[in-house]
Symmetry: C2
Subunit: 436 residues, 2 copies
């Protein structure tokens, strides 16, 4: 097993700096944008044959962007920060192929909102990172940077792996079920799914519009907060320093038996450590309706997905994987409108029910994954644990705090209130300091 | 003033049939898809120099599609129906230019969900209809089919004009403020804005994602219901026959003084006629909070719009109209996150407040426009009347029931409950029979 840079923690090379550190180094003249970009390209040259995080990478394009930034003297809030973009997100100067041969070589004519905002802030787009097919379950080529025999998770596979392996400081993924939180947990990085609807998805492939959000990946919590502000198009502000210990609701959910015993133990221990550090930690049990949310998520996402990909279904059925045809598409094409509507209604009811539950705490603490990244590359891991939180439209974060029985990372997931993402960051910082 | 075919009501030529009638004619062998398409092309050849509804039209492509349908013998629920697509919606075989020189010649590589679903159902895509710049306010070339000196309304200008002038039976537009209801009223056709989130927007340019929906235009209510089912990807079902007279809430809103006196009188008369026909008609006054919804809509739409078009702002500022630069973009770039959040919170509160108000009635009756289409082509008309309903995420319909003082059409707008669009259609049919 080869440990990636995040695990080895050597004296910091430029590619190992966080985004916040890069901005400081570039701002103070201690590093150029080009030097940072070259350090990332060197890392990629060394590690890409093993990790396979990139769908498109053109070193000349990267260097040209970095040089132009150095020459312009423009210093935005992401000055010189190398970022990666999941390959379901439009870029004006690179292909966007959605993880499928159907769209091989496709070139959009403009940048998605999140790409344009990243570049406007001074970021350097490194390239396009591997996605599963249409951000669904059929895996891409990427391997877990901690162990090439294991999945990196998905669907934002390359985004999580590239950040974990210090090939880029930041990455944009997406999440419709667990596509950011799961790979972040498996790859040992911070992953953030924002409140539904807040970060613009213009130029991002729609999988299931009533569930889709962007997802951000980084190697520090400050980086996540910084990147969120950049993508909101607002002046970045530091995470508020939460001096008082948070009220934490430990929410195992009815899916607890699906969490591996070792991970259960890590979470139980974490809850105790947080209590000892001064947090109020109480058990939270969700009402029985929530046991049906995973099923509702299945029908909502499948119904919408199957309509969004009508063109591919009609014209390229034989180029769609069996996994997708016999999964989302089969479900979605068979789903009646009544079943879809009932699922949407259940989701809406649970959103309302969840407000006082989440509102009684600063954060809920729950599993970010059943365990370490599983062996094998045929699957990106179970999606069960994520459907509840994604369907509720609440913001969530995974923090890379645990090490599993094989020495691989496991995250802890924190859930915040809708439209209170900064409060989630503040509580997460407290948790990170107590556990990290 | 030249009256378009909808006003003249001659013996029906094929291009003057509704979608429902075309499906019947093609299904029974009384017309071929090609004959219907040719009738529409003939109409376009005759009238396009005056109406200017089309951004892209290639008769050979149209005939080829129609012939292929005739030869295949496939008979979907839109068999042979000529439909038009607003030029902010992706098409795999035609340009998509968003009403701006910035994207001239842009060719997406696939059909938007709504286009693919229309074709799958047997529809014949006639071409791309004129939109205002980025579906905002700077007008395109289209003129009102009833009077070329008047605006057709916008932003779905060409979509409404093409359907009104019998160049196509159906059209897809979009609505972020009043972009479907207003041009439908001005052009004398049925216009429908669905419940927010229900009809998939994959492949449709995002203006302001938390407000955008598709908008459908047709020359009959049955056609609207049929097209909705096709775009939901479900088996079409006829509008339920509502035997009991509906409970109608007459909702003038605080913007009533902006409605022209002649239109006020038409609406008051209509309310009386509906009551005489047996409906329960009661006055509805909205709570004071609703007076701030138009302002909230302004900040929500501007904040989101300005971020979605970051690429154009950064690279093509000088090709953006003054109207857009000094309107949405100026507002959006100046809008603080706090102001945006407050606006979103007000919108969410009013959505909750509106539920019992709308729920006490089968429909609300309100103005679809201040009056007839105004003279001049520099503006597509006032957007004030629409912001409340669009922001509430409720479904709405305009029915072409009135004739204004200059002999031009004026619609009446009906508002339904969220996620009860078919109930809205049933009530609208009753209203249409009573007023139409």
């Amino acid at each position: 097993m080869t440990m990636p840079a995040t695990a080895r923690k050597p004296a910091a090379r430029l590619n190992e700096l966080t985004a916040t550190e890069i901005v400081a180094a570039v701002g103070s003249g201690h590093a150029t944008c080009e030097a940072v970009a070259r350090a990332c390209l060197d890392r990629i040259a060394e590690r890409e044959p093993r990790v396979l995080a990139w769908q498109y990478l053109n070193p000349e394009q990267v260097i040209a962007q970095a040089r132009a930034l150095d020459q312009s003297g423009r210093r935005g809030p992401l000055a010189g920060v190398p970022f990666a973009i999941k390959d379901i997100i439009d870029t004006c100067d690179m292909p966007t192929e959605y993880g499928t041969p159907i769209h091989r070589g496709h070139r959009p004519d403009k940048d998605a909102a999140c790409v344009a905002l990243s570049r406007k802030a001074g970021g350097v787009l490194m390239g396009k990172t591997v996605t599963t097919e249409f951000a669904n379950r059929y895996p891409g080529k990427t391997r877990n940077p901690f162990d090439p025999a294991r999945t990196p998770g998905g669907s934002s596979s390359g985004s999580a792996a590239a950040v974990a392996d210090c090939m880029a400081a930041l990455a944009v993924g997406t999440q419709t079920t667990g596509s950011t939180i799961r790979p972040a947990s498996f790859c040992g990085v911070f992953g953030y799914r924002p409140t539904y609807g807040e970060l613009r998805c213009a130029g991002v492939m729609e999988a299931a519009g009533s569930l889709d959000t962007l997802g951000l990946l980084a190697r520090s919590l400050d980086d996540i907060a910084l990147y969120r502000d950049v993508l909101l198009g607002i002046e970045p502000a530091p995470i508020p320093d939460n001096l008082t210990a948070p009220r934490i609701g430990f929410c195992r959910t009815h899916l607890w038996p699906q969490v591996e015993p070792a991970t259960q133990q890590l979470l139980e221990d974490a809850a105790q450590r947080l209590a000892r550090a001064g947090a109020s930690v109480t058990d939270v049990t969700l009402p029985a309706d929530f046991e049906r949310v995973e099923d509702a998520h299945r029908w909502i996402s499948s119904f919408e997905f199957a309509r969004n990909f009508t063109w591919e279904i009609e014209h390229h059925w034989d180029q769609i994987s069996e996994t997708l045809r016999n999964g989302r598409l089969k479900d979605g094409l068979a789903c009646s409108y009544e079943r879809y509507r009932n699922a949407c209604d259940l989701a809406a009811r649970c959103r309302q029910l969840s407000e006082p539950i989440v509102g009684d705490h600063d954060v809920l603490l729950t599993a970010a994954a059943a365990g370490e990244a599983p062996l094998g590359l045929d699957s990106t891991g179970s999606a069960s644990l994520y459907a509840i939180w994604t369907t509720l439209h609440v913001p969530s974060l995974t923090l890379p705090v645990f090490t599993g029985p094989h020495g691989l990372p496991v995250g802890v997931q924190l859930i915040g209130k809708r439209n209170a993402d900064r409060a989630l960051f503040a509580a997460a910082r407290w948790v990170w300091r107590a556990l990290g």
